[in-house]
């Protein structure tokens, strides 16, 4: 079946350090979405990327969609303790109405 792989599974950083999570699909995606889930909470939509090579920024967060539309990344500059949580990518393949979620990257920030 269609898969979306996400690495790393866990990341510990010192507050102020940068953080990146990577997402790879076995097939071309029509779009990719990113979600954040705080500990004990539910996933919350962050952003959607649609175009090949697209880059979008939200304050300290930078999202990229690869040229081949098979990979994506989320980069956080100068992490803060409020960034703690699990970040999920979710890819929409061309057929159907389903999102395929990556396994998530759990970010822990040491103050």
């Amino acid at each position: 079946g269609q898969q979306v792989m996400q690495i790393p599974q866990y990341q510990h950083v010192q507050e102020g350090e940068d953080f990146t999570t990577y997402c790879n699909s076995s097939t071309t995606l029509s779009n990719i979405q990113w979600y954040k889930q705080r500990p004990g909470g539910h996933p919350v939509f962050l952003i959607q990327l649609v175009k090949s090579g697209e880059v979008k920024k939200q304050k300290r967060l930078t999202f990229q969609f690869g040229e081949a539309k098979k990979n994506s990344s989320l980069h956080i500059t100068a992490t803060q303790t409020t960034d703690v949580g699990t970040y999920f990518c979710a890819g929409h393949h061309n057929a159907g109405n389903m999102l395929t979620f990556g396994g998530g990257t759990r970010l822990m920030v040491k103050p």
């Binding site: 029509s30 779009n31 909470g41 539910h42 939509f45 959607q48 929409h92 109405n97 999102l99 396994g103």
Partner: protein
């Protein structure tokens, strides 16, 4: 947050019993989804609905059934619960399919003993 209510929030039951989880939305969104979340597996789609009485299977549909008799309600049923179905279940809604953001409920923590 979008108006999504999941009930119950927590449930403990025994193997072999039937279980029904409810998702109620006040957003009049067309699409509704049921996911399960397990450590190391992220979110996996069980079933989804694209309208009243219109449903389709997801990635992990075996052992689960769904019904949507009204726009606002999407029910997930485990006909005969097994321990492998112990999980956190999330309902999500979206206005128009997978090219739109999904908004999640608070989840139901289900334990099958």
């Amino acid at each position: 947050d979008a108006g999504i209510t999941q009930s119950p929030r927590h449930k403990v039951t025994e193997t072999g019993t039937p279980v029904t989880l409810r998702c109620h939305q006040t957003e009049n969104h067309r699409y509704m989804y049921w996911y399960r979340q397990d450590p190391g597996h992220g979110l996996r789609l069980i079933h989804y609905s694209y309208g009243v009485k219109d449903t389709d299977k997801g990635e992990v549909s075996d052992g689960y059934s769904v019904s949507r008799s009204k726009t606002e309600d999407f029910l997930l049923t485990l006909e005969s619960a097994t321990s492998s179905q112990t999980s956190v279940y999330f309902c999500a809604i979206s206005a128009a399919g997978s090219n739109q953001p999904q908004h999640f409920g608070d989840g139901t923590r289900l334990s099958i003993l």
